[in-house]
Symmetry: C2
Subunit: 192 residues, 2 copies
DNA sequence: ACCTGAACACCGTTCAAGT
DNA sequence: ACCTGAACACCGTTCAAGT
């Protein structure tokens, strides 16, 4: 039967979850779908575009919430981190797709964050930069967290840094989010 | 004559500057040095380690400065951005090396930023997170800026966004740095 | 419209064997 | 100690030709 974009993204996500980014190749994916590698290029212009579609799938359930701008920023950050952590190499894949401008979902999320920054009082010329700053943090922090998690899961048992102090990733993540929220609050332009 | 680590890093940097990351392969590098690909593996364990050495070369001239913690953070951010922008795909390469934990220079810079955060009054358990937050921003912002710059230089002439408002990368960069500095200032723990 | 088969031009890494 | 040669096991992408 026919191959649909949906099937390809499904198979790619499964491959990612089970084997990680290194094994998410066009050839491997084609083999899994029992088609020739060339078949994928009928549905996607190139690998980047396909990865963008996987990123959008990973981010599919993230939504903006009503309320105070601080609550909105915190909610978006938490949802984003959770979504990334629930797929092998999720942060790495979404980072790459965002950098390549291939994820519509990330563009939408950036819009929400810029919106929240405006609600906070940041001037429109800087709101997108504020939003990007938040995204760079969530992607960077989570990619780092995830690579350590996956290393540990692979039975590495590395010495847990200075233990105690730097513990609890969720709390450390929250600290960074608060730093950014306070920074946004401080960058509000004075009322005219 | 003999191949030294220095020669390899030199050639790799030249290759990067002239053709970008996509062409910085072990095989291409070996060809440029007129040795067999296997020869590189006598001097470097793998490609990641070699890229880490290139990253350290790119970041070689960055230094900490004396003075107020705000000045230190700003100076480090500016130096880092300048260093990244002065090599083709510099931000992408250093990002990858930092994520892989292969750049000693980045580890040192992170130390300086964490130090500055402590000087600002952030408690020691969160200082490294504060430092990482700054680094994620500089790397993310500069990678984005650089990819646009290189696209433009390749004769793309894309519509300049909403013009005027979002212009001047240096000013936008400074806005984000100030956001982070203010965020750090706000996260100082109350004196005991 | 959708896919195959085969090719093109590459990769990173390993390792016996040479000097 | 340092490097070659050759192999192993792959890549992403294109495109004539088929149905």
């Amino acid at each position: 039967m026919q191959l649909h974009k949906r099937d390809v993204v499904d198979a790619a996500t499964t491959l990612l979850d089970n084997y990680g980014m290194a094994d998410l190749s066009m050839r491997r994916l084609a083999r899994e779908l029992a088609v020739s590698p060339g078949a994928l290029y009928w549905h996607f212009a190139n690998k980047q575009q396909l990865l963008g579609a996987v990123a959008d799938r990973i981010l599919g359930s993230i939504h903006d919430v009503p309320g105070d701008w601080r609550v909105r920023v915190e909610a978006i950050c938490d949802q984003l981190r959770d979504a990334l952590l629930s797929h092998t190499d999720g942060a790495e894949l979404v980072s790459a797709s965002f950098a390549a401008g291939q994820s519509e979902a990330m563009t939408q999320i950036l819009g929400w964050l810029a919106d929240a920054a405006i609600a906070a009082g940041v001037d429109t010329g800087h709101a997108v930069t504020a939003g990007r700053t938040v995204l760079y943090y969530v992607l960077g922090f989570t990619a780092d967290e995830q690579s350590r998690l996956q290393w540990d899961a692979a039975g590495a048992d590395l010495p847990d840094e200075q233990s105690v102090l730097g513990a609890d990733p969720s709390r450390r993540f929250g600290f960074g989010v608060q730093l950014l929220v306070d920074g946004i609050a401080a960058r509000r332009s004075l009322p005219v």
